[in-house]
Amino acid sequence: MLTERPAPREPYAREAFGEAIARCRRGHESDPGLLDLASALFGVQAALSGDLESDTCGDLGAADWLQRAAPAVAAAVAASSPSAPAGLRGIAASLRQVGADTALAAAGGDGEALTALSAETGVDEPVLYFVLRNAMQPFYAKTYRPEGDVSLPYPMRQTCPACGGRPFMARHALPDGHRFLCCAACGHEWAYPRMACPACGQTDHKRVEVMYLPGSEGHRVYLCSACGRYTKAADERLLGGSAYLPLEDLVTVHLDELARKRGYIPVNDKGPAPQGAEQERFH
């Protein structure tokens, strides 16, 4: 029987996160500490999102929001990490010190801004970027809304129909495996064809390889030899329930490593593929 095409999931879907974290805890494959971190992140982001929804934040701009949200996210991350850098606790003062423009640039992944903030806080750039990106996400999710009907995969959109960001992961939804991409910046989802590369849009299935670990088929990596990029995907049918992509991303970093070892770069990487990539291997 034909079923209705599923709708994209809103950011911070509590039910989906609850199902996903319960599945991960039952599976015993992921580091329990990592799952605690994911829970803490979800909790603080959902609370921040709730603040935005209830208008308690008034007309805060992006810089003001970052000043408000970053300490909360940093505290949550520090509380649930084995050895969080001490500098995270003083992130509010550091953000004020470097100025709004630099702080916002750092949250957007700008290398120089992150370096400046790292020098101020004494925290490594990747940790800073992780905290700032997660702090800004509720703001972007609220500020930008998808335009048009994003439950249909055509026209193909390689960038987020809400904020223009790039996807970081794909979800193959219950019950029939419709594919949704999730934006790394704002967390909105949109439908995308199963047989097209989310990075370059090419539809030649001969140029795409699916890699997975036997026994963990629910998490797959799609390697596109046309553009040298890879896309991780969580298949809800094989996982046996809802997938919450920010969580799935955290528990599958080993798949990133495997894909990078083979010369592929992530779907949201704007740069050229590294030399030596296994491109066009299947031609």
Partner: protein, 186 residues
């Protein structure tokens, strides 16, 4: 893990996540530390051969062997759904009972003989021509020009698509076949 600034600039989103987790003290499961055995597959689209609906299917093949079939969620006909026969399509390819060579049982014989495809195609062509020539009718009882054969009948299959049906119809009409029908009754 301390990353130099230059190194960080080379890193991209996902790898930054791994680096961030390491920086927070997590032991990230490493493919290098414990070599992970990976498997890889190819996904290919096809059309279900069973009935006239023409559902879209994604076949997963590992090492050239089909390991799974699922409905194509983006196919406009079935939107990812499949009937029980379509869901079991991989059993068509992976089946010990599947005939892979031509088998021929001669009239009156009690045994099957293995033949080549060339032999089979030639034999079919010869028999069609022989039957057509023997049963060809140029004019009917009233003297009207008909140019038809009444000794052949053709039956199309439900899994033939529009273009195949067109070619099949053209071909047998060219032979003069008038008993042309289709098996699909959906």
């Amino acid at each position: 893990m301390k990353l130099s600034r230059r190194t960080f600039l080379k890193l991209s989103g996902m790898t930054v996540t791994a680096a961030a987790l390491t920086g927070l003290g997590f032991k990230v499961k490493s493919a290098a530390a414990a070599p992970l055995r990976t498997a890889s597959a190819k996904e290919t689209t096809t059309i279900c051969p069973y009935c006239g609906v023409g559902c879209g299917i994604i076949c997963h093949a590992e090492g050239g062997k089909i390991i799974n079939c699922e409905g194509d969620p983006d196919h406009p006909i079935n939107l990812g759904s499949l009937c029980s026969k379509g869901s079991a399509l991989s059993q068509v390819a992976n089946n010990d009972l599947r005939l892979r060579r031509v088998k021929y049982r001669a009239p009156g014989s009690d045994r099957w003989e293995e033949k080549t495809w060339d032999w089979a195609v030639s034999e079919i062509a010869n028999r069609i021509k022989k039957t057509r020539d023997e049963s060809f009718v140029t004019t009917d009882a009233g003297g009207a020009l008909v140019n038809r054969t009444e000794g052949l009948a053709c039956l199309g299959g439900a899994s033939l698509d529009n273009e195949e049906c067109y070619l099949y119809s053209k071909f047998v009409r060219g032979l003069g076949v008038v008993y042309l029908d289709h098996q699909a009754r959906i």
